[in-house]
């Protein structure tokens, strides 16, 4: 990044969003702060002149993974908050201890090498042409494998998350309304079963 101040601001923003994502009680708030943290990281990537990666990070992480996470939180009734006593409870201290431990374990070896104290970045440029070129020549096999992996993940995710019930189009009509008052639908009209929750109806919407 051009100067240390912009980097420090970005880093503080990203880290606080990440900590908030891991500590907030409401899972929806967690997912949204995680989206903020991903965006902060994208800004850091842009500061490192990795344009394509920065935009791809926003497109994939903020635009897709965050939305997937939020959908999952909604579909699994995650709005029920976890029961926790106070902010400075034992799990908070556990979290801080783990963070310090892991940071120490990672950064001690990193900072003991002289390689990590470079200050002058080379004039690295990654025009999209060169990325495309590399993808099609040197990284062709990983590209094809990635295509296969993404297809498998797509199909697999759909199959796993598909509901086991047979796929009838259901219209939820309260039993009191009766069947005769609904016309013009080619799908079956079933009165609402007593045991189904609202949540399940949401998934067929």
């Amino acid at each position: 990044m051009p100067n240390k101040i912009t980097f420090c601001l970005t880093a503080i923003f990203t880290l606080s969003a990440a900590v908030a994502a891991m500590r907030l009680r409401n899972p929806v708030h967690c997912a949204l702060s995680a989206a903020l943290a991903f965006a902060g990281l994208a800004v850091a990537f842009l500061g490192l002149d990795a344009e394509f990666i920065g935009f791809a990070q926003i497109l994939v992480y903020v635009g897709a993974i965050s939305i997937l996470t939020i959908f999952t939180v909604l579909l699994t009734r995650g709005s029920e908050v976890e029961q926790r006593a106070a902010i400075f409870s034992r799990s908070w201290i556990t979290g801080i201890a783990i963070t310090i431990g892991v940071t120490g374990a990672i950064l001690l070896p990193v900072f003991s090498s002289s390689l990590s104290f470079k200050t002058a970045p080379v004039a690295a440029s990654a025009p999209v042409q060169s990325i495309g070129n590399e993808l099609m020549t040197r990284y062709l096999l990983p590209l094809e494998v990635m295509g296969l992996l993404l297809t498998a993940a797509l199909v697999g995710a759909v199959v796993i998350a598909m509901s086991d019930a047979p796929d009838k189009k259901r219209l939820v009509v309260p039993a009191s309304v009766g069947r005769a008052s609904v016309t013009g639908f080619s799908s079956e009209v079933l009165p609402a079963k007593a045991g189904t929750t609202n949540q399940r109806e949401l998934t067929t919407v």
Partner: protein, 424 residues
Amino acid sequence: MKEVACKSTWPHGRHALDSLMTMLDQIFVTIKQWLLTFIPENLHPIGSALLSIVAIISVFGTAFALTTILERKGLGRIQNRYGPNRVGPCGFLQPIADAVKMLTKEDIVPYAADKVLHYLAPIVLTVPIWLAFAVLPFGRNMSAIDLDAGIVFFFAAGSASELAVFMAGWSSHNKYSLIGAMRGIAQMISYEVPLVLSTIPVLMLSGTLNLNEIVNAQSGFAFGVGKWNVLTPWGAAGFLLFMIAATAESNRAPFDLPEGESEIIAGYLTEYSGFKYALFFLGEYLGLFAVTGLAVTLFLGGWNAPLAFLSVLPSWFWFFAKFGALIAVFIWARGTVPRLRFDQLLNFAWKFLVPLAVVNLVVAGIWHFASVSWPAPSLSRPLEYLETVAPRWLACAGLFFAAYEILGRVLSLKRAPRTYRYAE
């Protein structure tokens, strides 16, 4: 930013008229550089960015106001009535009345709503969309930023604003808002796939992700008609797919079920009033403008004139003329086509548009390799040119049309005939 020279196409080289037209074409660039001389040297990057921002906000803010009134009058005429016609001459000061109303309305926040998210949602919607305007080339040398990966930036900015729909729906603590929000997000992420896939042939055949370069690749004239991407089979198909996906991305009719007034009250916008609602409204229209601008850039030749002798008119005039024409098409579609049901909407995206977009990719590949293996001779020999180009056209257009027909027939096989039950 690479400066593009203004090619003179005036046949007899009248230099005075040429220089006048060039000056008119670059008038905004000149004004901006003149304004920059008042700012000290080291603040030039920030000053340049600020001037571009002011220009974009003023132009597209005015466009928003004009579009609201034109849409209401246009829809009114389609529905055999006058639109608003009281407030100014023929009702054209209606946006000002609307603005006054929105600003003075009471801002009601539900008691159980999540206050922070409820407040932030309109902002999260609008800000990334303003960002997306920065890469669009509005005229020759007239894009705010010249990015190497311009299109990826555009789509990233567009997808960042989808979280706002969820934030609005969830924070309102209202089941209709939540259902509307979930439908809205499902629709937006489903239609992102054909949107991006339909632009890939353009990127493939222009060889670059830079929007200025894509517009430059569409300059030049063949038989007096511009070499726009929409005049090729893959371009026409891509343009149609892009327009349909863009309509769905901006939640416009016929894809506006998440905010359809008769179905779900106002969907995720139910609990918003006053200025926040105005911001949502603004954000939606701005999203529409952004994808329209991208459609003009990618498929309709950007700021290039359609016919050779018309390139005396300034480049920014042509951009906004095409832009206005596409907005008129959107308004027309809103007034004419009925709304799609939600499962029909998602089926349409995943089972129809995505396979067609993939077939379009194949068609574009065939076109490219056919044009490389059998290059078209120069345009001075029209008959030979047609002989070389026509088989290409027939093959590519035929392939796409065959895919469209087959897909349409296969998908409509599964629909059972309608059964009607009547009240006794």
